[in-house]
């Protein structure tokens, strides 16, 4: 199912859905489903960073996992470099995995503690049958240098390193097969501020040098704004607003985006947070409200109008998409 991609997008996701079945009862029948991702469309161009923000449980990590096919989506399509990988069998998918790799949040958990750093970084090349033992060893050294680690690290184990260094190892590993697209799932959330900025700089440098495309998943809006070209805001399985980074912060249209931005505590004691925080919690994705999920949370005035509506994104300014929800968007 190969098709040319006219826009030159590295990644294009179309109406992706990931519904996890819920089973129960004596016969273990399906009793419902968790709509973790519920109709998401997005694209990422070459060398571009798309930031994906949202609160925990909104489905951002699930979306990332669907893209790299750690999960098989229930509906919709994921097209990477013109190839539809949504339903592709593993045998065909494996060689394609060279094009897209994932970096996980907690490097302490995602890196095998029993493997040396050299083995960890070389493993993707072994799986992809790239190079010989010698060339792989050379590549490991190159990669360690690329992420500013001493080459002597190759013979050590991950527990000998700090959190920031481990994340560098995780990034080196993801780069081993020369991918075009990295899915970065909260890559700096587990790190302290001073180390976080080191890793963010590294990611920005690597992107410039290697022309990488990033899907940068994070709940930290300041971090996302700093590294992204465009930003998508996700709420309960759906993207509610997507815009160029500056535009999104300067001119947010969706009530949820506004609430998120105003909730960030500014590291400046002379600025006082003015708006009242929004109330309530994210609703359960098992029984989502009938209408707009955010309108329901804040008991928006026009919530009733959104019930039964087909909520989707529409373009209001060039590149600025926002949900057509009647209660959250004026």
């Amino acid at each position: 199912m190969t098709e040319p991609n006219e826009n030159g997008d590295i990644l294009s996701v179309e109406s992706l859905k990931m519904h996890f079945p819920l089973r129960g009862g004596v016969l273990y029948r399906q009793t419902g489903s968790v709509k973790a991702v519920d109709g998401v469309s997005l694209t990422i161009g070459k060398g571009e960073t798309l930031g994906l923000v949202g609160e925990s449980g909104c489905g951002k990590s699930t979306l990332g996992k669907c893209i790299v096919r750690l999960l098989k989506a229930t509906a919709g399509r994921v097209v990477i470099k013109g190839k539809d990988v949504t339903e592709m069998p593993q045998s065909q998918l494996r060689p394609l995995r060279q094009d897209f790799q994932m970096v996980f949040q907690d490097p302490a958990e995602s890196l095998d503690a029993r493997m040396s750093v050299g083995e960890l970084i070389a493993e993707p090349m072994v799986i992809q049958k790239l190079g010989t033992r010698e060339t792989r060893k050379k590549r490991v050294d190159e990669l360690l240098e690329l992420v500013a680690m001493p080459t002597s690290a190759a013979s050590k184990f991950t527990f000998e390193f700090s959190g920031g260094q481990r994340q560098r190892i995780g990034i080196a590993r993801s780069l081993a097969v020369n991918p075009d697209l990295l899915i970065l799932d909260e890559p700096v959330s587990a790190l302290d501020v001073s180390v976080q900025s080191q890793i963010l700089n590294l990611l920005m440098d690597l992107q410039r040098e290697l022309g990488l495309s990033y899907l940068f998943i994070s709940h930290d809006l300041a971090v996302v704004k700093h590294v992204s070209d465009r930003i998508a805001v996700m709420y309960l399985g759906k993207i509610v607003e997507m815009a160029p980074a500056e535009e999104l912060y300067a001119n947010p249209h969706h009530a949820y985006t506004k609430a998120l931005i105003s909730a960030i505590p500014e590291p400046d004691p002379t600025v006082k947070r003015v708006s009242k925080p929004i109330e309530g919690d994210v609703p359960s994705p098992i029984e989502p409200p009938l209408g707009c999920a955010f309108g329901h949370r804040v008991s928006a005035l026009n919530y009733e109008k959104s019930i039964g509506m087909d909520l989707h994104l529409r373009e209001i300014n060039p590149g600025h998409l926002v949900s057509n929800c009647p209660c959250c968007v004026e």
């Binding site: 700090s162 260094q165 501020v193 700089n201 704004k225 960030i264 505590p265 929004i278 109330e279 919690d281």
Partner: protein, 324 residues
């Protein structure tokens, strides 16, 4: 003598027994807190913020952890090595504690109501019914809808924000004079964090209590605190009123920390300032300036401990010549 301080910590040293020997997680920390004020302790993981706070209420993990030296004066009474009876009467009563992870700090098999009334029944001379009534009022005060029903919920039936509200209710149930909040919003989403921070401010104003707020988030510090203590590697490197600290940081570590936060006002995709290197492991701490150790400076500053002194009224600094 000025107004007596609510809490006065002097030269606090807390340590842990490890396989590699004794490690000093908190190494000579001094600060005071006045009635109604909020003092923030900020620093990177492992710098000793939590250990300092838990030393106050004698909640270090035992038997490995213990307070080695210094004095903890609360309302004129020495809490260090105090009679267990004294600590029993103080903790949960005059000092309330909010822990970081409400899911692990709350008892999963006990109903919320029981967990709130536990402290009330222990410290106040009231009946079970009165205690339960008070618990309902507290849940209402911390913004939990239909508290009469929620009181019989188990923690897993509540969302993260709701659980943290329950933690706050427990911490406040005996009207403490001091609230110790250890990363109260770290596990929460920003919108819920804003709710909880507002709630804490409101409760503090209503009850006139003092708060010791531990966080690694400088945004939270800027929003909530009157005064800030910056910790690095078990010691305080700088202490200042919040506005002065953000406007004119004096210690190189504070400067580095403030400069390395990505801000919404930053130009996009520009290089962020960083603090080179990383915190040395606790076994390798030098006696001298530990930030010099991180910066790989050589010389005298590594050997002698820099003096921690008041350099301007209200501004305290670890006066390492290389770092200030």
């Amino acid at each position: 003598m000025p107004v007596s301080k609510l809490l006065k910590i002097e030269g606090l040293e807390s340590c842990f027994d490890t396989e590699g020997g004794l490690v000093r997680a908190v190494d000579g920390v001094s600060f005071e807190l006045e009635k109604g004020q909020t003092l923030g302790i900020v620093g990177e993981s492992g710098c000793g913020k939590t250990v300092s706070a838990m030393s106050i209420v004698d909640l270090l993990p035992k038997p490995a952890g213990r307070v080695l030296g210094g004095s903890i004066n609360f309302k004129g009474q020495e809490l260090r090595d105090a009679n267990p009876e004294v600590m029993y009467k103080t903790r949960g009563n005059e000092i309330g504690v909010i822990f970081q992870e409400p899911m692990t700090a709350l008892n999963p098999v006990q109903r919320v109501g029981k967990q709130i009334t536990e402290a009330l029944l222990l410290h106040k001379d009231i009946s079970k019914r009165e205690a339960l009534q008070h618990a309902v009022e507290l849940l209402d005060a911390v913004g939990i809808p239909s508290p009469e029903r929620r009181i019989s919920d188990h923690p897993h039936e509540l969302s993260g924000g709701m659980r943290q509200r329950v933690m706050i209710a427990i911490a406040l149930c005996c009207d403490p004079d001091l609230l110790i909040a250890d990363e109260p919003t770290t596990a929460l989403d920003v919108t819920v964090q804003a709710q909880i921070l507002d709630l804490m401010s409101k409760m503090q104003k209503e009850r006139g209590m003092a708060t010791l707020l531990i966080t690694h988030d400088l945004g939270v510090i800027a929003e909530q605190c009157d005064e800030v203590v910056v910790m690095y590697a078990g010691r305080i490197v700088e202490r200042a009123p919040v506005k002065e600290l953000f406007a004119k940081p004096k210690h190189a570590y504070t400067k580095g920390l403030l400069a390395s936060i990505p801000r919404l006002t930053n130009e996009r995709k520009t290089e962020l300032r960083t603090i080179p290197g990383q915190v040395a492991s606790i076994q390798e701490f030098v006696e001298g300036c530990r930030f010099c150790q991180r910066m790989e400076r050589k010389g005298d500053t590594l050997n002698t401990r820099p003096r921690y002194e008041e350099v301007e009224p209200g501004r305290f600094l670890e006066s390492c010549p290389a770092c200030t």
